[in-house]
Symmetry: C3
Subunit: 323 residues, 3 copies
Amino acid sequence: MTPRLDEIVARFGGELRGDGARTVSGLAPLDSATPWQLSFLANPKYRSQLAATRAGAVILAPEAAADCPCAAIVTPQPYLYFARVSQWLAQTPPPPGIHASAVVESPVPDSASIGPQCWIGPDVEIGEGSVLYSGVKIYSGCRIGRRAILHSGAVIGADGFGFAREAGGAWVKIAQTGRVLIGDDVEIGANTTIDRGALGDTVIEDGVKLDNQIQVGHNVRIGAHSAIAGCVGIAGSARIGARCTIGGGAIILGHLALADGVNVSAGTLVGKSIAAPGSYTGSVPFMAHDDWQRNFARLRHLDALADRIRALEKRLAELENKS
Amino acid sequence: MTPRLDEIVARFGGELRGDGARTVSGLAPLDSATPWQLSFLANPKYRSQLAATRAGAVILAPEAAADCPCAAIVTPQPYLYFARVSQWLAQTPPPPGIHASAVVESPVPDSASIGPQCWIGPDVEIGEGSVLYSGVKIYSGCRIGRRAILHSGAVIGADGFGFAREAGGAWVKIAQTGRVLIGDDVEIGANTTIDRGALGDTVIEDGVKLDNQIQVGHNVRIGAHSAIAGCVGIAGSARIGARCTIGGGAIILGHLALADGVNVSAGTLVGKSIAAPGSYTGSVPFMAHDDWQRNFARLRHLDALADRIRALEKRLAELENKS
Amino acid sequence: MTPRLDEIVARFGGELRGDGARTVSGLAPLDSATPWQLSFLANPKYRSQLAATRAGAVILAPEAAADCPCAAIVTPQPYLYFARVSQWLAQTPPPPGIHASAVVESPVPDSASIGPQCWIGPDVEIGEGSVLYSGVKIYSGCRIGRRAILHSGAVIGADGFGFAREAGGAWVKIAQTGRVLIGDDVEIGANTTIDRGALGDTVIEDGVKLDNQIQVGHNVRIGAHSAIAGCVGIAGSARIGARCTIGGGAIILGHLALADGVNVSAGTLVGKSIAAPGSYTGSVPFMAHDDWQRNFARLRHLDALADRIRALEKRLAELENKS
């Protein structure tokens, strides 16, 4: 696919500066684009690369347009524009249909693509246009919305982790009879797992994006358009608001609620509810190992340090009173 | 299945208060149960919901029975009772048998259920009544006990991570010739991995419950009835005692031992052995990002803060001696 | 396989002490080896076990040879020697060939072993002698080098996590058009995921060893002979140098660089680039839960503690000036 620049602008909008008849064959970063490629400038950090780019054309914001050494597509949101063009140029969704090696125990719409070695259990609903890559597993009774993308190894609807303990310490399983309900336009990364509810359902609302290796416990609810990075764990019955972001490796404990618009930093353990939107963090700085040993040994005695400060304040006040 | 209350009590014990001929068709929480459902009160936190419940009957402890507005099943351990009833009402284990798409290179008992796209390598033993959901992989030589439940994507017996380093930095693989030995009544979550031993075996004792996305390294031993939450990593040759619990995202380093009855909190890094039962924690509180930046910058200089306190104490003592 | 000691020395070098005609049937640790097994002493910690070992022979360093109660193979690097012998004795790589249940859409060399239920997409290259265990998934366009070992559930080339945000909060997917390029002699653990690049490629250089449950984001580069332990997450566009080691559960944020020879401790969050080789750590010590509550509450007020120390220093200096 080698569209002309004026075709791109006709389709996606924006203001064209330069030769609309020029064709481009793909996208590339400013510093490696060839004259046959389209580039973009979204992050001001890369502004210095603009003057020297060899790209055939650049998608950029009005304030950068004057410095562009080649053809330009000017738009107020160059990154969003780039995203849309990237999808159009790529156009390589897997073809609709069910691969012969998939085991499908529920009806699936003709527009869906079910890859090799997928398993779709009984009573599952799959929305129009959804794509399941090789090896996705969907347990009975779960619902996937329209235009979903599920990557290899994702497991939807396995039993939640629920047990009652006998006096002797043995665990008795609590039947997990709920479902997983997934809205429209959701993407689920490779080897991510979403457990079915215990009594009620686990719910992933529209437009949620989950990266790889994420664990979502039973009865969790994730609000619309939240995005969660790799390796995050969300314990049972947590409620994540809409338009939240959660950084890689964060752990969200169970039975708590995050408001809409909360951003949790990578590596943060969220142990209680967050009622107000904003950014929240709880990780420690890394340092050279020897420095760490010296500094972090103090953490074991932080309470004692505080006591010593209090004692000093008292003694000093007495002395000040005397003198 | 819509049993009468007196049938439930005949089967599971407890004291019935109210009309034993009433039937229930399922379980539900106090605040959403209908008159055709059975509910339960186990956590005192939900006691306030009892008076207004519309449930047909409630499983509860003797001390709460007087306040129950409907029929009741009175038992000293309502949560355990609820767990047992939930299993009985659910009764949906996958049927025994080997799915045609599974690749099974070892004999399997008739009572086991081997789901679609499972792989069972050579010389594997599977116990009576075990259930492997779609896509479980079991490498050669491993043993799974009776009544196991293995969820989709679980991998049992992949090579442990063992290498010796050459002078130039290249790694030479150490053959991983041990096995994974799993006891009876073990449940293993979706996409959890348990590596085979290097020379000896990796051992999971009876009644252990593992959530999703857990990594168990080679030669680890996990004691009976321990329960481990999602995203935990356990490094090689660690020994976890019996009846331990480990919270989500915790990391247990290798070549150390946890006593029986140790509870590790979520997000905790366990870097040395724990000899006494009890609860152990090592995570940092999260806070608004700006507060975090101000406070946690100090962590880099904690040692210096302690030095300043010591200097203050010395100077103050000198001053006190003078005055 | 039961080689004679003199055969082992003829093949792997080292100096034989004792009866070269003695045969051994396998490897075992010093404290459990039988007279028909070969053992090794690499870690000085186990030196005390040497005198009492019942092993038929021991691989050890020259300085330990005098204390060996049985036949010995003396070599300056006993652990490396042990690794090589272990591979030779094990000799159980899966046989070459493509399992009938695998779905293979690209040519594969005869010397490769493709296990049950693997999927190899179009335009994939697999190197000579590579082994894919059951259920490995490789998306289109990716390249695996020679002698690779990929364990069950590994997913290579799923889409990276890249989205642009619309004003209303919805995410627009950025097409992930790069590939994953993997060098020679790489081992990839069970359920590890490596995402394809967004525009450029994700690159894993020669000799890299990845444990289980690792997430490697799009456009990451991992330098030759680096070894990464289980549950590590590496965010997009991070560059890891050569011969690095990263401990279990560490999180490496995106768009940063680690120099060659950097060692990151387990559980450490790396939030900025590391320019010099060495060991780096950023985790907190665990303690009994009650102690932790008392000490770590102070972390919320560390900045205030520092302010109080500064105030004390000022007041004390004034007092000292007076007296």
